[in-house]
C-alpha cells in the first residue's frame, strides 16, 4: 500500500484496517486472554515449553490456533486478536513493532523501517 493510498477517504472504510469493536472483542476473547496472560513471565515460559498445551488451556478457536502456529499476525487479527495483547505474544519471540509491521505488510524489516523513515 502506498502512503497516499493509506489515508483513504472520509466516510469510507479505512484501508487495511480492522477496528477492534464488540464483534472482534467477542470473537477474539480466547486469543486475547491468552496473550494477556503473557504479562506473567512463568506463563511466557509455559507457552515456550509447550505451545499446544498452552493454547488448549485458553480454548483457542481453530482459526486462532492456526494463526498462532503460523505466526500469522493478520490471521490473528482476523480471528479477533487485538494488537495491544498480540504484542505480548510477539514479545515472547523477541519481535518488536517493526518486525510485526514487516510480518503484516510482506515487506522486509529494512523495507518497513525505510517506509517509516520516508514519512519524515
Amino acid at each position: 500500500m502506498t502512503i497516499p493510498a493509506m489515508l483513504g477517504e472520509p466516510g469510507k472504510p479505512i484501508p487495511g484496517t480492522t477496528l477492534f469493536d464488540g464483534a472482534a472483542a467477542r470473537k477474539g476473547y480466547a486469543l486475547n486472554a491468552m496473550c494477556y496472560s503473557f504479562n506473567v513471565a512463568a506463563n511466557r515460559q509455559a507457552f515456550l515449553d509447550d505451545e499446544d498445551a498452552y493454547c488448549d488451556r485458553f480454548s483457542l478457536t481453530p482459526a486462532q490456533r492456526d494463526a498462532v502456529a503460523k505466526r500469522d499476525v493478520l490471521g490473528m487479527i482476523a480471528a479477533g486478536g487485538n494488537i495491544y495483547y498480540l504484542a505480548k505474544l510477539a514479545g515472547i519471540f523477541g519481535l518488536n513493532v517493526q518486525d510485526v509491521g514487516s510480518m503484516q505488510t510482506g515487506m522486509t524489516v529494512p523495507e518497513f523501517k525505510q517506509m517509516l523513515l520516508d514519512q519524515a
Binding site: L7, G8, I14, N39, I83, A87, G91, Q104, L116
Partner: protein, 279 residues
C-alpha cells in the same frame, strides 16, 4: 487555593523506555525526540508541580477485555508498574493523592460522567515513560498522581467531544479543590501511528499538525471528527490523541503554547511533545 500550572503532553511509545534504558538519548535516531525535553525539564523546574492529573490509556496491564471501562479514575495512595510482557524495565511506583481523586470522582459523577473508580490500579508505560522523560534523574517522583484512564482499545470509544468535556469537568473539580497543590495536567500517547493490519506503519504529519496547531487555541476543532474519522487520519493507535484532548480540557478555558517538538519516526510513531500554560 490549588493552581493548575500548565499541561505537558508527550508520546509514550514503549521503545522510548528501551532507548532510555540503553542510554541512547544522543543516538542520531533518538536525539531529535529527546531534544524536545530540556525545555520540559526547565519548565517543570520553574512551575514546580507537586501533583499530576494524568490522562492515558491502559495497554493490557491493568485492564483486560473482561472489564473495560470507558473512563476510569485511580483513587489509590500508590500505583505500581508491572511486567508488560516485552522486556521493559520495571518502573518506579507512583504516590497517589486519594483525597483529590475522590474529589474529582464526586465532581465527575455530579456532572453526569460516571467513571469506574479504582482503589487498585497498575500503571503501564503510558504513564511511566512520560514521567521518566519529565524527571529523568528523580530518585522518587516529585509529584503525586491522579491517573485517569480512557478506553482507546475496544470500540466503541468515547467521542472526542466527550473526552474534552470530561477534561473540562476535571478542570472544574480542580478549581473547587481547597488544597494548596500545584497541579500539572499530563496527556500521553500518539500522535499518529498504526501497529495493526496492512496499514501498519501509517503516520500522518498533516493531521498531527492540525491537532498541535489547534490544541491550545481551539480544542473544539479536534472534536468535530467522529472516532472513525480520527482513526482514519491518525491511525488505530493514533486515536490515543483522545488523552491529549481530555488533558487539554483539564487545563482550563484558555491556553497558550510554550513549547513543541515533533519528529517522525520514533519506532512506528510520530513522536510529539508539547507544553501549554493557561492563558
Amino acid at each position: 487555593m490549588a493552581e493548575v500550572v500548565g499541561a505537558y503532553f508527550t508520546s509514550h511509545v514503549p521503545s522510548i523506555g528501551g532507548a532510555i534504558a540503553r542510554g541512547e538519548q544522543n543516538d542520531p535516531y533518538w536525539k531529535p525526540f529527546f531534544d524536545g525535553f530540556p525545555r520540559v525539564h526547565e519548565w517543570l523546574a520553574e512551575v514546580k508541580p507537586d501533583v499530576a492529573v494524568a490522562f492515558s490509556n491502559d495497554h493490557g496491564l491493568n485492564f483486560f477485555l473482561d472489564k473495560m471501562p470507558t473512563f476510569a479514575v485511580g483513587a489509590a495512595d500508590e500505583y505500581t508498574n508491572a511486567d508488560e510482557g516485552w522486556g521493559l524495565p520495571l518502573y518506579k511506583a507512583m504516590k497517589g493523592h486519594a483525597a483529590l481523586s475522590w474529589h474529582i470522582i464526586e465532581h465527575l459523577v455530579e456532572d453526569e460522567f460516571d467513571p469506574v473508580t479504582c482503589q487498585q490500579m497498575l500503571v503501564d508505560h503510558a504513564l511511566s515513560i512520560p514521567f521518566e522523560l519529565a524527571w529523568p534523574d528523580a530518585k522518587e517522583w516529585p509529584v503525586r498522581v491522579v491517573p485517569i484512564g480512557i478506553n482507546t482499545v475496544q470500540h466503541p470509544l468515547p467521542s472526542a467531544r466527550r473526552c474534552l468535556a470530561l477534561g473540562r469537568s476535571v478542570h472544574r473539580a480542580l478549581r473547587s479543590w481547597r488544597g494548596a497543590e500545584r497541579i500539572v495536567i499530563i496527556g500521553t500517547g500518539g500522535l499518529s501511528h498504526q501497529l495493526d493490519g496492512e496499514r501498519t506503519g501509517f503516520m500522518n504529519r498533516e493531521y498531527d499538525m492540525f491537532c498541535l496547531d489547534n490544541l491550545a487555541t481551539d480544542p473544539d476543532a479536534l472534536t468535530r471528527d467522529s472516532i472513525h474519522e480520527i482513526v482514519r487520519q491518525a491511525g488505530t493507535q493514533g486515536v490515543e490523541v483522545l488523552n491529549w484532548i481530555a488533558a487539554r480540557g483539564a487545563l482550563g478555558p484558555g491556553a497558550k503554547e510554550i513549547h513543541r517538538n515533533y519528529h517522525i519516526p520514533i519506532s512506528n510513531t510520530a513522536g510529539a511533545t508539547l507544553l501549554l500554560e493557561a492563558a
